[in-house]
Symmetry: C2
Subunit: 482 residues, 2 copies
Amino acid sequence: MFNDFQITEGRPVYIQLKEYLKRMITNGHLIEHQKLPSTRELSSLLSISRNTVLTAYADLEQEGLIYAVKGKGNFVSHVETFKSPSIQLNWSEKVNEKTFLAEELDLMKHRVRWNKEMISFTSIAPDEKLFDVENFKRAFLNRLSIEGDIVLNYGYAKGYKPLIDYLLHYMEIKGVDTRNKDILITNGFTEGMDIILSSFNKKSGRVLCENPTNDSALKLFRLNGFEIDGIDMEDDGINVQKLKSCLANKEYDFAYFIPSYHNPTGIVTSSQKRKEIMDLFSDYQVPIIENGFNEELRYSGSHLASLASFAGQSNNVIYISSFSKILFPGLRIGWILADKELIYYLESMKRARTIHTSTLDQAVLYQYLNDGYFEKYLKKAKSVYKKKYELTVQACKKYIPYKRMTGDGGLHLFIELVNHIDSRELLKKCTERGVVFLPGNVFHTDNSGNHTLRLGFSRLSEKEIIQGIQIIGDTIKNHYGG
Amino acid sequence: MFNDFQITEGRPVYIQLKEYLKRMITNGHLIEHQKLPSTRELSSLLSISRNTVLTAYADLEQEGLIYAVKGKGNFVSHVETFKSPSIQLNWSEKVNEKTFLAEELDLMKHRVRWNKEMISFTSIAPDEKLFDVENFKRAFLNRLSIEGDIVLNYGYAKGYKPLIDYLLHYMEIKGVDTRNKDILITNGFTEGMDIILSSFNKKSGRVLCENPTNDSALKLFRLNGFEIDGIDMEDDGINVQKLKSCLANKEYDFAYFIPSYHNPTGIVTSSQKRKEIMDLFSDYQVPIIENGFNEELRYSGSHLASLASFAGQSNNVIYISSFSKILFPGLRIGWILADKELIYYLESMKRARTIHTSTLDQAVLYQYLNDGYFEKYLKKAKSVYKKKYELTVQACKKYIPYKRMTGDGGLHLFIELVNHIDSRELLKKCTERGVVFLPGNVFHTDNSGNHTLRLGFSRLSEKEIIQGIQIIGDTIKNHYGG
């Protein structure tokens, strides 16, 4: 007994001893009225200080796990170790269709497995090597010294007030008319989207969006029971003629657009098309959900206003965004900017579902933004990503036989292969050679896109980018001819 | 022009200037080809350094908002300021019944308004004055120096591995058999509960719980469309006879219990009753959701095993908990311990809804727990809260004419008033005298509890506790007789 007690570094030894003994008591390995070794004995047996044993015993006594008898030592208290008759429920019978669907649509679970030695173009998360950890620490310490106690206690469902104010200002600077608008802070873009979708009345039960579109939105449309009509993308944005004919022929509860660095195609919707879209939607009075995805990662070109900005005083655009893809995705902070009345309702849904988003994360992000670290970081990130972007474009031009390649910036390119090469088949072959990417079909609304793929380059080195694309090109050559 | 430019402290001036100009450009106050003041002029006009203006101009140029003409100066670029025809959607027509219900059940929006000068017994959040901000900072810096880049990037839906392992160990120490169990980290108890409820198959569509029970669970039952059967509480826990007869007579999808420091009654379910409950549920094969609420805040008495512990190898208990009510609610971290297969499904729902819980929060909490700060803090918190608890009990005995008072620890007491005094009516009168509390009806499953109230004392000073309870007692005397 006691000889399996092992000390882990970095955790107070008295706690480890206490937990070790507590476990033996709650498991029934030490039984009621059993005498524990004296503090002297145990300290010598385990080669730890007697004080450590004393503290552990005192804590155990305080928790009612042992009792002391003066002059006699410490004994184990009565602890219930009864276990109820063993039953095994079949949990897969207890979960509903929506949950099965969530599992089925869970790309992380079902995509090709890869390991760290491989070159992976699957991610469009920022490169953590770029992270500005030092200034993040500074922002943290700064905020905590200002109001550490408040930051660590409950906050409000709508969000942390200084961050809300900052973001309202941030949107105003971009030309958005924020009068009669409000902001709800969410656990990233995903929660924002899910709250909106689960709050919407289904009149037609139908949503209009770009085809392809980002997989997490697609998943949420499906999980929330919406039918999806996807409209294909031209090089300057959605096909407006088709959009018009959809709106003219069917009812829609809302439309969903990603005008800036569309995911997955990387296409930036032109100013002209943005205007046409906004005019159309004013006519049809259909609400728009705009995903502000990576608007900040524009490497060149003139300023482009968001749909929320074109909307002016209209209240038909719900703008969702986050800095996750640029700054710190680990923080899970996004926001919804929308009509005040709508935010009022969404706030109650947010409160019911998660009470509020981490005040700590919001407060530190606020401080980081306010102190100007974001601006500095963005410049650095842009220059690094721009270089990787250009390199990826060049390498694709050189090695990959594509029918179409799109991507005007951001952290990924989208490719349509020649000769209807199936990208899932290609992926299998590339995986064997140590390269993975995302086949484009997962982004499509209509089971198409079988010969497309998305290449995320943000987390790869320049060497890996070239090598990886070379391997993809090589694999195509070997299996499908040159 | 430019004379409304005002500098806010704590934010780099070049960013403020850039944003000021950007706003004027996107708003159309500065128009295409308009010449900007020279850097020299503007620096002198605004009394800021010329370098500041140079940096702001360079940034604006980089963003495509201005252009430089050599030898002539800086000019405003073409920026689209078109606004689509103004339309106003009626958002209240677009949100669904569930959202209206969430708004209706949103206690934060509809409860009595109070201000900071008043004495509020409404909260059962921890007292932020107790917060151990210094050690929290230490844990943060410690973790960030170990793996700052990882902590700030995307994590996994299931949670941060070191925290999951810590919590599995934590539950084992409490006597829980964790074989074939797993953990999902959630945004606090609330998200955990909501994910479970929205994942369950509704066979009977009915849930069994204690009456009263905590309002956030009640709200989620209702929002997820469950019928609720509440069973009243005896001083040692739920009325087991009634529980038995319910199970014998109706089908239930699951039961929900708060055996430790039941919210709102503060009752601790006895070991004997826990065994009886577990035996019953083994017979009926109905799953149990156990809320581990404040198990840690036991001020006295012997060790009590959780239902999850009594379950042994059975897989019928879903245990949800969080340290929010003790440690840092601002962090929003909770966990679900349950059968491995169930967690596998819930993980996909979690990923679909919020991707994952803040890695930063999880990592810092892990470090704080692992370094032993939690143990130390808990001792301090217990001694402070115990004193407040005893004081509240004494004051209630002295001043409030109650029929029943319950609360064996934790951060609140529950009172049933004599003579069927309506607690909502009493609340109105007390509010006028500067004291607020939560009327107990909001916790009841069946519109009863009109003469009950919950007194949360955690965030009040000893003086406020006595004064507040005196005022409640006084008000009762004045309006309902002594």
